[in-house]
Symmetry: C2
Subunit: 453 residues, 2 copies
């Protein structure tokens, strides 16, 4: 039986700086706009939301930004994470391809989210902030921020999408074990929440609504700031530790990826694994093919429009240029809850327009089947979000088999599925189905795009 091979870095091989892909863009990122005035946002507009260090990172054009020593120290609790060569999966698929996967499930909360939760908590603590507000869907981000807040002694207030709040009590319990306060969104605690509830008393919530609530509370309290788990430039940059480590690990293995596969929701884990390699491609050093896999129920990159849109439902968060299905679009309740955002990170959207990667949409039944195969062959049960990357990687490996080419395939296994067993129960019971997104709902949502002057 072929072994799974693990590539381990020593701590002194851990990256000491994040990679900022903005430095290598051939055309600059379109600026974010103020939700009311539609004028480009300045640092002072963002100050009620974020500490100045994160605002600087959001707009920085520097290629690297040093990771503070205190953040590195906390990263070291679970980083560097392992890179695996999936020899057993290669044999099972009978493919000439080499399959590598980076595994972020070894973090304290089981996903890649702590990579940005820790620096966000750190910079807020440094700035004297007392409380962080945020939203969460499936709960990966909320639990990561709850854990980081606990370590730095910050209060954490999480608006959790109501359907998840009730369907995923265990994720909620994890946040509460870390001392966070978790509120079902839409709630009666905010103007945004009350407005939604007045119009839709039975609203099950959405990420867009939860963002509106978290932003509103942060803006109104000078001791509070807002934290976002994906989408923003600085969040994506923090995740590049994943790809930077992988670069070194693949050097150890004597390989370089021909294809990188990542799943996309808001874009942060995709950016984390792919941006360091795409940067080398943009600089003309070495090219790589990159594939984003998104859920067919929320096909932002493959079916969305690239335009300025609101980041949240109440239209109080910044307006950004991105691939969007419309800020009021609420996708079907697929189990990959972390991939249900109506938009996409502006950086990821910009890079798609620049032709730097391709995107495809996959149905959840095929993704779960890929995840179960992976679990039985490689031993690790992936999160439903990560199953999209597994599915994409397996398809690439099978294509290599058809073509008789031995490509190097890399993907990011961004989280374990230990919190997602209800999804696997439903899958095995035949209760899941493939769902098309509603074209009508997307068209209706896109009719509410901001009208720019």
């Amino acid at each position: 039986m072929p072994e799974t091979i693990k590539y381990v870095l020593s701590e002194d091989q851990m990256p000491t700086a994040w990679y900022n892909i903005q430095a290598d863009l051939p055309t600059p990122l379109p600026p974010p706009l103020h939700p009311a005035t539609h004028q480009p946002l300045g640092p002072h507009d963002l100050a009620p939301l974020f500490p100045m260090e994160l605002i600087k990172q959001e707009v920085s054009q520097e290629r690297t930004i040093d990771i503070p020593e205190e953040v590195q120290q906390i990263y070291r609790q679970w980083r560097p994470t392992p890179l695996y060569r999936a020899r057993r999966l290669e044999q099972y698929l009978d493919t000439p391809a080499k399959i590598y996967y980076k595994y972020e499930g070894v973090s304290s909360t089981g996903s890649h989210k702590p990579n940005t939760a820790v620096p966000q908590a750190y910079y807020n603590k440094q700035a004297g902030v007392k409380r962080l507000t945020t939203e969460t869907g499936a709960g990966q981000w909320g639990s990561a921020l709850a854990a980081a807040g606990a370590v730095f002694g910050l209060e954490v207030l999480v608006y959790m999408v109501k359907v998840s709040y009730h369907q995923k009590p265990y994720r909620r319990a994890l946040m509460e074990a870390y001392g966070a306060r978790v509120v079902a969104s839409p709630s009666e605690e905010t103007h945004a929440g009350r407005t939604i509830l007045a119009a839709h008393p039975d609203s099950t919530g959405s990420l867009g609504i939860a963002i509106s609530e978290a932003v509103e509370v942060a803006v109104q309290d000078d001791d509070s700031r807002y934290a976002l788990g994906s989408v923003l430039n600085h969040v994506l940059m923090h995740q590049t530790v994943i790809g930077l480590e992988t670069l070194t690990q693949l050097e150890m293995a004597g390989d370089y990826p021909d294809v990188i596969v990542g799943c996309t929701g808001g874009g942060s884990n995709f950016a984390g694994i792919a941006f360091p390699f795409m940067g080398a491609s943009l600089r003309g050093e070495r090219s790589v093919r990159v594939v984003a896999v998104e859920p067919a129920a929320c096909p932002t990159l493959t079916k969305g429009v690239y335009t300025y849109d609101f980041g949240d439902t109440a239209h109080t968060a910044p307006v950004v240029k991105m691939h969007t299905l419309g800020s009021t679009f609420v996708p079907e309740g697929i189990h990959a809850g972390g991939l249900r955002y109506h938009g996409m990170a502006p950086l990821v959207s910009h890079l798609l327009e620049l032709g730097q990667f391709e995107a495809r949409a996959e149905q959840q039944l095929e993704c779960f089947a890929a995840g179960v195969t992976f679990a039985r062959v490689e031993g690790i049960l992936p999160a439903p979000e990560a199953n999209h990357a597994v599915k994409g990687a397996i398809d690439e490996a099978l294509r290599c088999k058809e073509e008789g080419t031995s490509k190097v395939i890399l993907f990011n296994l961004c989280g374990h599925g230990h919190f997602d067993l209800q999804a696997y129960i439903d899958y095995h019971a035949g209760k899941l189905q493939n769902t098309a997104y509603s074209r009508e709902a997307v068209e209706a949502a896109l009719s509410e795009l901001p009208v720019l002057g």
Copy 2:
């Protein structure tokens, strides 16, 4: 803020042999007896249950037994596991003690159980076995064996204690995701199960009953063998990779433990962390104080009787000399389900009689409080079983503070709590209570001890 320090081994520093403490015992372990004849068991008696390599390990007096290369390769997927110095916990407790913890939650199924599931599956596969049967309580063991069976292409049949089967559907789902068949015990599928159900139709099951069912099925099918997740000598020996790695990691740190704390159910994680150090103590090389922490609801070591007793309820498994509360004793349904076995590993029991460690019993509310403190300060949520070790280590650290002594405390964080959020929900909702064990129930169970000739 002080950092958590991680000690990382390279793969070539990973142990290549397990440590067998039987080689260093001043008096030999009392032999296991046949359940019917009460005569010492020979290898041929065990052959229907285990492959010959494991039977040899069970009785071996060799100090080290080589870990097969194929097992080492699979170990390397998550091993060597990190050893941490809990500097933030030390600061929080304001203790002069140094607290180290080994973390086994990074394994594929989140606990230490794969350390023995993998070699057991390997030796059975080598022997041509097609199916493994086993029991599981909380589900840590069952999911580890399901994963190992999947990797080696073995069928796995798990008898899961009925109360857990219904209360912990997510652990069951994990086993099923790995392809195992999971049956609620007592079941109608075995004579042992039907006998219990005839007398107690509403029986919620126990580990002792589930063992009886799994043993019965294995014995009746020549292609099947039985696998046990704790208690047996070879199982404890497989777990010594934990302590052997820790020895090397503490050398890197320039420390040696003054106190080792482990939680005890069947004894395997305790043995894993403590035996390599106790061996040095038995050989007169270096002494160490060792503390076992068990649940007050199932106080095998502190309140049990050291005598020959049945390993299972139907009295078909071997009779062994151990600390026992009686084979028909069913403890309260505490959330640390992995610590609810009526007996204790014969090796651990023998070492207690030899005065090689001390034992104490703790209530679950205090253990959960310790676990929540640990999660908020160190960032990792422990499994309820592991909370007993956390509680013991914190108490030792606080004693150091009182005494003004700077001792080196080591404990094993044997699993994460990601599957145990219902327990934390109940704890935070005030639904848990401390429960005394029933003296009457223990006395009744002890009245059924085997009468030896």
